[in-house]
Symmetry: C2
């Protein structure tokens, strides 16, 4: 049972006013009061606090329309920054994220397959220090670090429980990163971070039920309900890569047969292609398909079918108002998005739910995880302050 | 943005106190204050209101343990009742549900396949009147009527959008039922009602992420998150019957191939069995299996495999802490529950999530929908009061 006392109400109201100014920037006090139903006094008190702390300022713009002209409130976008990190098997990207979810800067480094967690964490800490120095950012302005990565993450305790891609098991990432940098650290699954950023700043602004599906080195999904990430009991909700789509299918690395990921993730596709001839990359595979080579047509068409089935299964389970496709395969090969969209509409989505959702492409693309992780760190900061 | 003003806080606090007394009955004022963090004055004010309205009373029992003895508060279970209804193709059950989710009485009637919605609604109204009369229940004590049925329901407007089983399309059930009975009416999908009742009063008390899966005339699921039904954008979340589990599978009545329900719902199983020999019921089919007839062994084993796959797919998507199996097949054939449970553990649930949830059997069985629908009507009543 949630306690609805004065304190809780105050914190909630503060967060509400803060989010409204952030999202509707610039905005008048009167408009905030009208939208929230709070009294003018309450709004003014909160605005006063936020101004004093340097997060907002009164702009010179005046409100339009009839009635008394009034000063508008604006966010000081750079008053607080956070550090957003994306980790993947061969890559590590780090950026500074402002209050509006813009990346002030971001950099990408390569990462070795067998790089230990200690090394990776030390590198993140080092790059963080450099970035802050280079951009002359005071440490007091940093709300924290957020890290998104593929795998099962205990986000409450900041522990990477299990990541096939990174080769990590039970790594207390948040704790170590905090020790090295002095900042609070948050860790989450990359698709959950991505879904949050697309919901707040990308393709699905205004959606109440956003499902995001990632096709790339793995297959996964995430669901945002009323602005909150749906996590499930162990923060593993959306792990569809090992849902079964064909009980007579190929054996998966997990020990079951016919897991979704065996048909559509990059390494499975490449490994199968190499049964036929030497293929080094998805680009080569797509070239072969465009050239009409039957084996490549077969492999990709089958993958597209399973991607469409994935959309159907996610839609039947979550009944979202928006479905966002994302991931390396979607970013690199525009035909995938178009073909899956058309297959879904014509054949694979259950008729009563066909047309019940917006079919969207990720807008933040490769920046999505950095932004989402950065925003997570900020949300924690403001909720606790 | 939710408004967190005094009014909202008051309503929430009232509901919180009410739920605590309902669930921890009997309980002292001090214990309520301790659990909620509310002041003694606030608790006393709310308790006073509820007592005056006849929902609770001070019992003679005194609290145990050290400290001052104090009067305990008890719910007057029968102070408010609601009517819970379950509709299915061939059946209609109606009962009176008290505040604790007990059925004071319930009755089942047969329903013809082609019975019009008008006729069914008139029959519900007539039985409701009779029940109230027979049990001498004043109309003022009735919080409303709740109806649960298979199909897609617009629960906001009380419209049955689409129900294959009932043969209904766009039936304004709540409105018509209200007109005929004079009571507020709520309508929902049967599995959503059932999940709510199992969560509040049955197998999954205390769970925060309950997934319920129904195997019977159809296949479906429902998810309860923190005590609330997850509905999705159109109240269709959990409609897994048409998720695809084998792209090379049989054509489904929906026009797609390999839908889950083609392998496990009763009518599909019977229709397939009849390709081999005349079979009239699931009982006969199970008898044949027990007698070792190969075709029956094959059909049921395949169904059990797909049921286990269903559990895996639901677990991967929702990451629940509890999975409840329910529905006619589970209720009538105890071996199904046991075999699916064992297949899940040994072969079909993805290893990292194996053991991450409690595997449960429905406790309320055929009463689940009546109770859940009745409780839904009560929740609406108390939230609005």
């Amino acid at each position: 049972m949630k306690k609805h006392d004065q304190d809780f109400m105050k914190r909630q109201n503060r967060l509400t006013v803060f989010e409204i100014i952030k999202n509707q920037n610039p905005i008048s006090r009167a408009s905030i009061a009208k939208q929230t139903g709070m009294s003018a006094t309450t709004v003014s008190r909160i605005v006063g606090e936020l101004t004093e702390q340097g997060y907002i300022l009164e702009s010179e713009k005046v409100s339009e329309g009839l009635g008394r002209k009034s000063m508008l409130l604006e966010m000081v976008d750079a008053s607080v920054l956070s550090i957003g990190v994306e980790l993947d098997r061969h890559r590590m990207s780090i950026g500074l994220v402002d209050l509006q979810g813009n990346t002030v800067c971001s950099e990408t480094y390569s990462r070795k397959d067998d790089e230990s967690s200690d090394t990776t964490i030390e590198r993140i800490a080092a790059v963080t220090g450099e970035l802050l120095k280079r951009h002359s950012i005071e440490r007091g302005r940093v709300a924290g670090i957020g890290v998104g990565l593929p795998g099962i993450v205990n986000n409450d305790e900041g522990i990477v429980v299990f990541s096939v891609q990174l080769g990590w098991k039970n790594v207390p990432l948040a704790k170590r990163l905090s020790e090295l940098t002095g900042f609070k650290a948050d860790v989450d699954n990359e698709l959950k971070a991505k879904a949050l950023s697309e919901h707040l700043k990308g393709a699905a602004i205004g959606s109440n039920r956003t499902a995001l599906i990632g096709f790339g080195n793995g297959v996964g999904s995430a669901l945002i309900i009323d602005g909150e990430i749906y996590r499930g009991a162990m923060n593993s909700a959306g792990e569809i890569g090992h849902s079964t789509v064909d009980p007579n299918g190929k054996l998966c690395e997990c020990g079951k047969a016919g897991c979704l990921q065996t048909y559509i993730n990059i390494s499975s596709l490449l490994s199968e292609a190499n049964h036929y001839r030497r293929i080094h990359s998805m680009e080569e595979l797509f070239e072969a398909r465009r050239a009409g080579e039957r084996w490549a047509v077969y492999l990709i068409d089958r993958a597209l079918m399973y991607m469409s089935i994935t959309v159907n299964n996610v839609v039947c389970m979550y009944n979202p108002d928006s479905v966002i496709l994302t991931g390396e395969l979607i970013d690199k090969f525009p035909e995938i998005y178009e073909e899956v969209k058309s297959l879904c509409a014509s054949r694979f989505v259950w008729e009563p739910l066909n047309g019940s959702f917006r079919f969207l492409r990720s807008e933040l693309n490769e920046k999505g995880v950095i932004i989402g992780s950065g925003l997570m760190a900020q949300r924690r900061f403001f909720a606790l302050e």
